[in-house]
Structures are given as C-alpha cells and as structure tokens.
Amino acid sequence: MKTQNQRAWLFVTPVLLLVAFNALIPMMTVVNYSVQETFGDNLFFWQGLDWFEQVLRSERFHNALGRQFLFTFLILIIEVPLGVAIALAMPRKGPWVPVCLVTMALPMLIPWNVVGAMWNIFTLPDIGLLGYFLNHTLGLSYDMTQDPIAAWVTIVVMDVWHWTSLVVLLAYAGLVSIPNAYYQAAEIDAASRWAVFRYIQLPKMKTVLTIAILLRFMDSFNIYTEPFVLTGGGPGNSTTLLSIDLVKIALGQFDLGPAAAMSLIYFAITLLASWLFYTLMTMNDNKT
C-alpha cells in the first residue's frame, strides 16, 4: 500500500521544472503562432481559428494523415505478430540467448539517419545488395526512387527491420517470467500447443505487449528521419508522412501559422490514441 504524502511533490520538482521548460514554453509558442498571421519583422495579427480550418480542410493534410495512418497500421499489423512469433521460437536458456538478444537489439541503437542511409545503400538498383538481387537475380524491375509501391514496401520493410526487435524483446521478457510449473500443469492436462499459447503465454504477455503496441504506435506515428533520408518523401508525395510534411511547411516554406495549427492537430491525435492505450494499460496494472 502506498502512503499519502504531499511532500512527494518535492521529489518531483526537478523533473517538473526541466520538462516544463522544454515542453510548456515551446508549446505556448506553437499555440501563439497557430492563431496569428505574420509578415515577418515580428509583426503579428490575430487570425483566430482560420489556420485550423484551413489545415483541416486542405487536401494535402488529409493525404498526409491518410498515408500516416496506413503506415502505422501496416507497422502494427506486421511487427506485433511477427515479434511474438520470433519470441516464442527463441531459446529460453543456453549460450545462444545473449547472442540473440544482443544482435536483435543492435538495429535499435543505430542513429536514425544512418538507418536511412544504410537502407539507401542496400537498395540501390545496380550496386546495392537487395537492389541487385531483385533486379538481376530475380529479374524484377525494382527502383524505389521511381516506383511509389516499391518506395512504400521499402520504408515498411526498413521499419520492420529497425523495430520488430522491440516487440521481440518485450514479448520475450514476458515469456521468461512464466514459471515452469504452469507448463507442467498444462502438460498434465494434455493441453494443445494453441491452448498453452492462448491461456498461459498470451495472458502473461498482456502487459508487455500493451507497452510494445503503445511504443510502436507512438514512434511509427511520429517517424521522420528514416523515411526522410531514404526517400525524401518521394517519389512525388507518395511517402510524405505527417512529420515530413510538417517540417516541409514549418522549416521549408516557413508558413508558421498553418504549421503550428497542423502541429497542434497532429499532437492531439497522438495524445488521444496514446491516452486510450495508457488507460488500457493501467487497467491491466490494477487487476494484477
């Protein structure tokens, strides 16, 4: 049981100050821009909610948002089952465990733009390993700078390469925490492989899988650097995800008003979805 103690606020103060400095001041700047028009020279005019209306009605935003949802959906639907399957097949003990864990974690520690550059080199049509294999060994015509579908497949495969290990490691952590007695009991009951998965392993993985889905949702929804380095949002606009579009508007065209309004809408969507996940997660915590 936790104790009621208001002095706990003292412990939290340093964190509060630091995060507030980093979060509240920039957030207020964004809110400021989102309701004003500027022609430079620090002159600002009240604009009301016009920018929000403009962004919400613009086809460009709808398209970027649609692409973003499609990307995140594909990522979750591929990475979560794949990660669980790999974790189930991993050895529980023995010399191979640390080897698996270390090699699997490696992609996550590579700077994001290096990931983009690495996949760029890997997929070059004539001199990249994958590009050469697809074009010259299999005889396909693969060039992700020309073909939007190839570009999409490439960014999705790149993200699967980069982040599936997160799901694997989380699911694995859940699996190794199951006491052996559970499996012995299942064996006595002559439970099928599926029953073991459904009634023993899945419930034990529930908390960690919620964390995995939450983290994968947030990070794939906010993804910027890797697809930007790999495709630059192209060919055309086909892989321009929300963050790429936002940076184009804010730092490329310097349209501060629309960019700020778009930022707030973007953040609100992330927040809403994450709140849903978080609520689900704390419900789990309370039950156990």
Binding site: A8, A89, L109, P111, N113, F221
Partner: protein, 265 residues
C-alpha cells in the same frame, strides 16, 4: 525443435544483411563501388576510415555526439531518480495526472518542437552548445527514465524502506546506501535507454546546432549532399556510429529483456 530455431536464425540473418552491406561498402574504393556489384570488397582499403579519423570536422562530430549524449544521460537519470521514488512509494494530489503528463512528452512528435526549440534556445543564448541538445533530449528521456525506474522501484518491497527507518537511517543515507544498490540494474537500464534515444535522435540535435556542437549524424547528411556520391565515406562513418551502441548493449545484455519491458514483468 530444429525447425523452431530456424525462425530466430532467419530473423537475425535479415537483421545482419543491411549492416553487412554497410560495413562491406566502407572497405571498398569509390571506384569499385561505382563500377559494379561485388559481394565482397575486391581491393580492401582503409582510406575511408583514415579520412574520417584525420579530418577534424568528421571526428569532432563523434566527440560532440558523445559529449551531449553523456550529459543527457547523467541529467536524466539524476532528476528521474527522486521523481520515480515518489511515484512508486507515495500517493499525492495529482500524481496520476502528472505521470500521464510526463508521458505525453514522450509521445510528442519531435517535428512539432523543432522550430520552437530553435527559438527558445536561441533566446536563452544556448544555441549551438552541447548542453542545449542535452537539455532538449531531456524532453523525451526524462519521462522514459521515470517510467523505467518507477517499474524497477515498485518491484522492491516497501518493507525495505520501513526497516531502514526503524534502524535509524536518515532518508538520504537510506536512499544512497540501501535503495540505490537494490535497484542498480534499473539504473543501468534507464541510463542505457537515455543513451540510446539521445544517440539515435537527429532532428532536434541538428536543429539546435550549427558548428560548435554539430553531431556526427548531421555531419553525415551535410557530406552526403555537398561532396556528391562518396558512398564509401558515408558507409565508413555509418559503421563507426554502430560501435558505441554495440558496446553499450554488451554491458546491459543480461538486463536487456527486462529493461525493454520497463521493469514491468
């Protein structure tokens, strides 16, 4: 059983292929890269690495990155420790809301903060310093560190605290000599994650620096666009950025699975 171990083996092969290609590319001459496909370097060359290790704009990129990543890791873990203790041991007015508010900062798209961060850190005179990037990365690292440490601390029974008070320990002495050793794997894991996310992040680090504190990742993008198609050099620089991560993983390998579960298994 044989079939089962094939799954992780194939997966690891898939993970290693692009990395292999990057490393192989870094040992090839530009001539060989552009002249056609070769699975292994035909003529091994260390020229790419030599150029990076002798040119100050290149190697200072690495030093800059390591400086701000270390600063960020130390700051994040130090301020997160007392906060995580408060969240794991006490209830106080607004604790749940505060915890969620902290997490929202981990959820915020970095692209949203790029421009306001640039203005904020320019206004306080910290633009293009290591501490600016270290502080900016606190935005997502502190919430994560609090989250991880809180998970590990909640696994320590509360009786430990109570026994220490009965034995007459003061709070600071209890925290440093008894509590910290009890959660030291948690501290290691939290530091690992702060290192990881600060090391891989580029957008904010690039926005907040120009010359003096420019991270290696930003040096790479500059070179890729200005010096044309120097793939070998790019590959060598990329290969070198993998090494610190690999070293750090090796140290936390025994806690890595529990760590990714944020101490909640």
């Amino acid at each position: 059983m044989r079939l089962k171990s094939l799954v992780p083996a194939l997966y690891i092969l898939f993970l290693m292929l692009p990395i292999y290609w990057l490393v192989a590319m870094s040992f090839k001459t530009t001539n060989e890269i552009l002249s056609g496909f070769s699975l292994f370097p035909q003529t091994w060359t260390f020229a790419n690495y030599r150029e990076i290790l002798t040119d100050p704009t290149w190697y200072w990129g690495y030093i800059n990155s390591i400086i701000y990543v270390s600063m960020n890791t130390v700051i994040s873990v130090l301020v997160a420790l007392p906060a995580a203790y408060a969240f794991s041991r006490y209830t106080f007015v607004g604790d749940k809301h505060l915890f969620f508010w902290l997490l929202t900062n981990r959820m915020a798209p970095a692209a949203v903060f790029a421009l306001p961060f640039f203005q904020l850190y320019s206004a306080v005179g910290l633009f293009d310093t290591h501490i600016a990037v270290a502080l900016a990365h606190c935005l997502f690292n502190i919430p994560l560190a609090v989250w991880i440490l809180e998970g590990f601390m909640s696994g320590v029974p509360k009786e430990l605290d109570e026994t220490a008070y009965v034995d007459g320990y003061s709070f600071p002495r209890f925290f440093v000599t008894i509590f910290l050793p009890a959660i030291k794997s948690g501290v290691g894991v939290a530091a690992f994650f702060c290192f990881m996310f600060s090391w891989v992040e580029l957008l904010l680090a690039k926005t907040l620096t120009a010359v003096e504190a420019k991270p290696i990742a930003a040096v790479m993008t500059r070179t890729a666009s200005s010096a044309g198609y120097e793939l070998g050099l790019l590959a060598a620089a990329g290969t070198l950025t993998i090494i610190p991560g690999a070293i750090v993983i090796y140290f936390v390998r025994n806690y890595i699975a529990k760590g990714f579960a944020l101490g909640r298994v």
